[in-house]
Structure formats: structure tokens, C-alpha cells
């Protein structure tokens, strides 16, 4: 026997409550991606004003917050696109590579022991989420934004290259470095303590 989900009443928007209910989450979302308080504040404002103008397009299928985050995501991508047009494709400076993960012969210098973690348990743990967000925030800017766009926001590879104005080789290199750094960070900030 299957249990049908209880029908929820059609969702309605409540713009007067947006800042109170979603302001912090939207700001955190923008901060992780643009890494500049003023820009993040402006983007939240643009998002909410834009959402108000587009309120007739809200169908109620998604939750209010999901809808607002979707609008913010577009504003952030527009911002990143403009920023990359100004800066051009810059090669990563050496210091942006983060810590060394390999010795000169190409052997691992670090060893993580088996994490043995269950993804479901991990994501339900708020502290883990915060640790992960902290590790992403600790990445060099270019690595972080490339990783977030592709791996978290699920933007297609070609689109990521267009937004950031980089080649696909550069994009893969950034994602790989971000992956190596995130793994080291999670090992030291989470898994080592948990064991």
C-alpha cells in the first residue's frame, strides 16, 4: 500500500516577510559564491526586488525559498560573467594552487584513512554542512567558484567555461585542485576528529 503525500495548499508568496525569513540564507548563499560582503548584499537586494517584479511568475510548485534561491543563482551567475569579462582568463598564480598534495616525484604526501561515512548521515548533520561550507570558503577564490558552479550548482561544463571565461582544461584543473584541497580540509577538520 502506498501512502499518498498529504496535499498542501497552493503556496503563496509573502514579500513582506522575505527579508526576515530568507535574508540570512540568501546572504550566506551569495557570500559563499561571490566572497564579498557588499556584492553579496547588493545581490540579495537585486534578487528580492527582481522577485517582487516577477511574482506573477511564481507557480507555487516550489517552495518560496527555493524560488528565491533560483533567482539569486541567476543574479550571481550574471555577476560572475561580468566580472570575468573584466578580468579575462587569468592563469592561476602558484599560490592559488593551495598546499602541496604530492612530492616532487608525484607521490602523495598526505594519507587519509578510510572515511567510512554514509552520505545521508553526513548531510543531515548541520555541523558537517558548516564544516564543508567552511572548507569551500577556505579555497582560493577561483578554485571555489569553479567547483561550486560545476559540482554544487550543477551548471554544465561548457556553461561554466563561458561564465568564467576560461578554457575547459583550466576548468578541469581548477576542479581537481579544489577536490584535493577539500579532501585535505575535510580530513583534518572533520574525519580525523570523528574517528
Amino acid at each position: 500500500m502506498t501512502h499518498a503525500k498529504p496535499k498542501t495548499s497552493p503556496r503563496a508568496l509573502d514579500p513582506a516577510q522575505w527579508v526576515r525569513l530568507h535574508g540570512d540564507v540568501l546572504f550566506g548563499y551569495a557570500m559563499l559564491r561571490v566572497r564579498d560582503r557588499e556584492v553579496a548584499e547588493d545581490l540579495v537586494q537585486e534578487c528580492l526586488m527582481g522577485a517582487y517584479e516577477a511574482r506573477h511568475r511564481f507557480t507555487g510548485e516550489a517552495a518560496e525559498r527555493t524560488w528565491l534561491v533560483g533567482i539569486l543563482k541567476h543574479k550571481i551567475i550574471d555577476h560572475l560573467r561580468k566580472q570575468s569579462r573584466r578580468q579575462g582568463d587569468q592563469a592561476l598564480p602558484q599560490q592559488a594552487l593551495g598546499e602541496a598534495h604530492f612530492d616532487r616525484k608525484g607521490h602523495w604526501v598526505e594519507h587519509t584513512s578510510a572515511w567510512n561515512a554514509d552520505p545521508k548521515t553526513l548531510i543531515e548533520n548541520r555541523e558537517f554542512q558548516e564544516t564543508l561550507a567552511g572548507c569551500i570558503a577556505a579555497l582560493p577564490d577561483k578554485l571555489a567558484i569553479t567547483f561550486i558552479l560545476r559540482e554544487i550548482d550543477g551548471v554544465e561544463s561548457e556553461e561554466v567555461c563561458t561564465i568564467l571565461g576560461i578554457t575547459s582544461t583550466n576548468m578541469w584543473a581548477r576542479i581537481h585542485r579544489a577536490r584535493l584541497s577539500l579532501r585535505s580540509c575535510l580530513e583534518s577538520k572533520w574525519f580525523r576528529d570523528v574517528r
Partner: protein, 107 residues
């Protein structure tokens, strides 16, 4: 039996990979998570993983990170939620004021 035929370039790539260290193989592991590798890359990586525990561990960890992130994004649109990222009060007030002003135009 693998046939390399005239694909000298691929054969060269394969032998180069046999001599490559973990750094190159880790890069291939990352790449394989997003696109399919060439036959020689696949074979080279497979051989390396047979005897390299550290690279096997990296592959497991990288997949675990991806799986966790994917689940997290399904769980909440704002994943991962950061700590201490409150919208500054003055900014919250300014945005509320702009929204209210716009809303009152409609009334």
C-alpha cells in the same frame, strides 16, 4: 587482447602513464568523474589502481564527496549552509525599506 593498431599516439600515452606517479593518476581519477577517458588512459589507471592504495582511497573519497554534495543539494536548495552568515542588520533594513516602498506603490 587489446588492439592498439596504428594508434601510436595512444600507445605512447599508455606507456607514459605506466611511468606516471600518483599525481597524474589522481588527475585522471578526477577527469573520469566528468568525462570518459581514452582507452589507454583507462587501462593505465586501472593498472595503477591495482597496486596503489592511496589513489584508490582518493577515488573513494572523491566519490563520497560528490555523493554527499548531490544528496545535500536535493535536501535543501541552499546547501551547504554556512555558519555565521547573517545579513547585516543595516542591509536587512535597507532591503526591507525598498521592498515596502515598492509594495506600497501597488496599493
Amino acid at each position: 587482447m587489446l588492439k592498439f593498431g596504428d594508434e601510436r599516439k595512444r600507445m605512447f600515452e599508455f606507456f607514459k602513464l605506466l611511468n606516471a606517479g600518483c599525481e597524474d593518476h589522481a588527475r585522471l581519477i578526477s577527469l573520469s568523474m566528468d568525462q570518459s577517458l581514452s582507452r589507454s588512459q583507462r587501462l593505465g589507471l586501472k593498472l595503477h589502481l591495482m597496486y596503489c592504495r592511496a589513489c584508490r582511497q582518493f577515488r573513494r573519497d572523491a566519490h563520497l564527496m560528490r555523493e554527499t554534495i548531490n544528496l545535500g543539494c536535493e535536501h535543501a536548495c541552499e546547501f551547504p549552509q554556512s555558519k555565521e552568515t547573517a545579513l547585516p542588520p543595516e542591509s536587512a533594513d535597507a532591503i526591507s525599506a525598498s521592498l515596502n516602498a515598492r509594495m506600497s506603490q501597488e496599493k
